[in-house]
Symmetry: C2
Subunit: 273 residues, 2 copies
């Protein structure tokens, strides 16, 4: 174990740089903060190549830390609280951090995006801006049994500190495929037999309760403010909507994604008895 | 119209104080920030007793401001950007604010909590801590047609700046009833014929898909970290759960509340054809 006391230490600098998306892409790694999230990364089989914690964190989170230490392949560093500040993204940091490789499943590229996950369902997120929304959606996807999510266009990064926190580690285990343009990819999805749904707030779209999800299905969900791109909507096989009964114009994207995924999975379970 | 240039102005001080929960309770008023949210407060029939905006906000949000100005019963203030900073809760403030009375429906007390809303459904939130979660849940409730929400125990304030932002004005229109103790109130709800459900993550609880919501129903949803109080769970008629198909242990409270409310309303719509 090494001891880092200087805020100018090179390992700390390069690890703190992972708080930025560009650096995560460059290093193909991310910084994970918090006792539970680090333990979750370890248990999810990620490649952990450094671990950092302060003395007080070691005392407070002993059992979590033991789980993490078993999995670290690189170096473990004891750091001072003033050094922990440089890595922390939260105000009351737990002062435990690890640097992990971005999981292979989240680096899948174009060739893999057509592969059907076992549950026959897939979510496509287009230009989601808010990392807390993205994290919440990934957490919901995992809980409901959806294992593959397409991240399309300028979607925020699922490995940012904020997205990881609200995702509770879902990004460690899901297959996340980055796609530059969803509308340009839809024809290929359709050719291999995927049925593509565009979730829209329009009253004249098919109600989500009436949709047949027995075929392999992709549900496309759009940006917080603007929804799906017009090109995406017209490229999809079918528009679907959540019937709104109240006065509110729309749902938060993480609430609507939860209801859409729930309906996909509920109907499939119903069909399977 | 008055012009405020001093950061020490008494009206500004007392309005800025409304960013704190204790002061909102004392004044029975709240501070609303943003062009759209202020217009929404005006259109929802709230009592607006002051309006503040900067010159640049007046130029940028003319149409929103016109809607608000029609409804202001008190004074309109032109303020300097340095003064707007004192009222702002966001980093890039739109520099439009109004002070509104907390709506009557949100001040309902014990005597009213037994009243059945027209849709026959009600949500009871116990000790929700995060204002963004609370706002999102209220927005979802309104969108799905649930008009009454019980806020139980130490629930965060629906009129805090953050809760208002994520709620998109839902708190302006819902009936929000504050209850000191949900477990102590459940017997009264049951006596007048409400069926009380406790949402729990336990696998052995009844699946939400199998539940009969044809009777007047209250769905109790608990705190982010700990769920419902044990006393609440044992006081309810029935425990229900969202079947989890994946590896995640639980859903975010706003995602699970969305699915629970969706199932309540979906089944009721099914029954009504």
């Amino acid at each position: 174990m090494e001891h880092i006391t200087s805020r100018k230490n090179e390992v700390i600098r390069s690890s703190a740089a992972l708080r930025k998306a560009a650096e995560r892409r460059k290093q193909k790694a991310f910084l994970c903060e918090g006792a539970r999230l680090c333990a979750d990364a370890a248990q999810s089989g990620l490649n952990l190549h450094s671990l950092f914690y302060t003395k007080r964190a070691a005392q407070k989170y002993t059992s979590y830390l033991q789980k993490v230490q078993l999995s670290v392949k690189g170096t473990t560093y004891l750091i001072e609280p003033s050094v922990a500040e440089l890595l922390a993204d939260t105000q009351n940091s737990q002062e435990i951090f690890c640097v992990c490789d971005i999981p292979q499943a989240a680096q899948e590229t174009k060739e893999h995006f057509l592969e059907l996950p076992p549950e026959g369902m897939c979510l496509a997120l287009e230009q989601i801006q808010d990392p807390a929304n993205l994290g919440t959606i990934l957490r919901t996807a995992e809980a409901l049994g959806i294992s593959k999510v397409l991240l399309c266009g300028e979607c925020c990064d699922p490995f940012s500190p904020k997205a990881l926190r609200s995702g509770m580690g879902a990004a460690f285990r899901l297959v996340l495929v980055h796609i530059a343009s969803l509308p340009q990819s839809i024809p290929a999805l359709r050719r291999v037999g995927w049925h593509t749904f565009a979730a829209v707030p329009a009253h004249n779209a098919g109600k989500i309760t009436k949709v047949d999800f027995s075929v392999p299905s992709v549900m496309a969900v759009g940006n917080e403010g603007n929804g799906l791109l017009a090109e995406t909507i017209s490229a999809c096989d079918q528009c679907v909507t959540i019937p709104m009964l109240g006065r509110a114009e729309s749902l938060n994207v993480s609430a609507s994604a939860a209801i859409l995924m729930w309906e996909m999975m509920r109907k499939r379970s119903d069909e399977n008895g």
